[in-house]
């Protein structure tokens, strides 16, 4: 197991992503930051805090569980869904930034796009990922990337975050027959 990113590098990447989101959106107006559980939701909270601090206006973070929209449910043991928290007034006309920890096959993001559809019609949907490790199975790409990490398909990339795992780090390990997502 090898450490790819340490706490300070994760923090710097998230601050850069936050700035890029504000720049592309020309401020924080109409922004809805939505994380995919578990660790995407934590990253979304951190990005929303960064944006709130930079812009001086409160930008909340939301959580969108995609379990019930996955296309691989029958290939894994039953997954228990996580809570979803979305804006009470819906997301019609908003610019939604989806946040996930690792972008891999793209299937989680596809499920998230379907799930978003059931909550309303955003003006635009952007994608932010802390790690892009390649091996896409669908035509999906991220707008904001913390770090590109070319990897072999059988390697395992783990993102650990203080809120969930007591430490901020990204590691890679060789074995591990099944991937994170």
């Amino acid at each position: 197991m090898r450490t790819l990113l340490q706490a300070s590098e994760i923090s710097r990447a998230l601050i850069r992503i936050s700035h890029e989101i504000i720049e592309a959106n020309k401020g924080s107006g109409g922004l809805v930051i939505v994380g995919i559980p578990t660790r995407g939701a934590i990253l979304a909270r951190r990005i929303a805090e960064n944006i709130s601090r930079i812009e001086g206006t409160e930008v909340p973070a939301f959580t969108l569980d995609v379990t019930m929209y996955r296309d691989d449910l029958a290939k894994h043991p039953t997954r228990v869904p996580q809570p979803t928290v979305m804006p009470p007034d819906g997301i019609d006309g908003a610019t939604v930034v989806l946040v996930d920890d690792v972008l891999f096959s793209g299937r989680t993001v596809r499920a998230a796009l379907d799930a978003l559809n059931d909550h309303g019609r955003p003006r635009a949907v952007r994608l932010a990922a802390l790690i892009d490790r390649g091996h896409r199975e669908l035509p999906i790409r991220a707008d904001y990337i913390g770090k590109n990490l070319p990897s072999a398909k059988n390697e395992r990339i783990s993102v650990r975050l203080v809120e969930q795992d007591d430490v901020d780090e990204v590691t890679i390990s060789a074995e591990g027959e099944r991937e994170e997502r």
């Binding site: 929209y69 894994h76 043991p77 039953t78 869904p81 059931d118 309303g120």
Partner: protein
Amino acid sequence: MRHLLDTRTLAREDALRILDTAEDMAATQQREVRKLPTLRGKTVVNLFYEDSTRTRISFEAAAKRLSADVINFSAKGSSVSKGESLKDTAQTLQAIGADGVVIRHPASGAPERLARSGWIEAGVLNAGDGTHEHPTQALLDAFTMRRRLFGEAASRGRDLDGMSVVIVGDLAHSRVARSNLWLLNTLGANVTFVAPETLQPYGARDWPVTVRHSLDEAIREDQPDVIMMLRIQSERMHAAFFPNEREYARNWGLDDARLAQLPERALVMHPGPMNRGLEISSAAADSDRSTVLEQVANGVSVRMAALYLLLSGERTEHA
């Protein structure tokens, strides 16, 4: 979990997993689009050997909101009335390609037989068997209690530790009472059965339950957080269990005077359909404390959760 057959053997963690997943399902029912794609391509068969409207449409709504295909099979006017056995029906469903079977049957143990016999690979959900169990009803009752007690936001992961639940009525014939007893006991609640001796279940004194004959005594002594009134099931009464309906209503009905005696916080529950004026007065049924309609709405969420947890994952041989 592979099947949901009873609450007696349902582990606490599995019960809480169903209740917590039901919270997520309930949240999806608040949205503009209430349908989820989760069970697309799966087939759920409602196999009903006994009349039922509520449970059947509740399961049907739950399966459809998860995008499963639903086939309704009722014994009346079907091959069963021509003498087909449960085994042959099951094998037919297997050949059709059913992924889940929701079964209601007048014989206690029929769902278990279906699940364990090897006739069929589908997940089996017991929707009421004889006087044995009706697990999804107990789960939706517990879900309703938990939501009223802790609020929607704080319900997750909680059990019903220390709650006092009084169940009144035709307990001898009631699978709802049995399923509730086992589940509530697993979740830490204290259960009291109130009925005349003729309507107490056989062997109840060996169960973890307080048996009483007087409703007034139960209200006074147990200070119930929940009072659950059960329907007098005239269709199952083939002997004289009590002198007449008026006397039953006077001694064991939740009338206006008893409603006033209940603690301020107490919930009034009834699995429906109600016999107004017999086991429950209209004032009690329509009061703020009554959860009768919430129970119906929550029933869909709980059944969605059960169908999801049973049918979505990878199919394994045991577990």
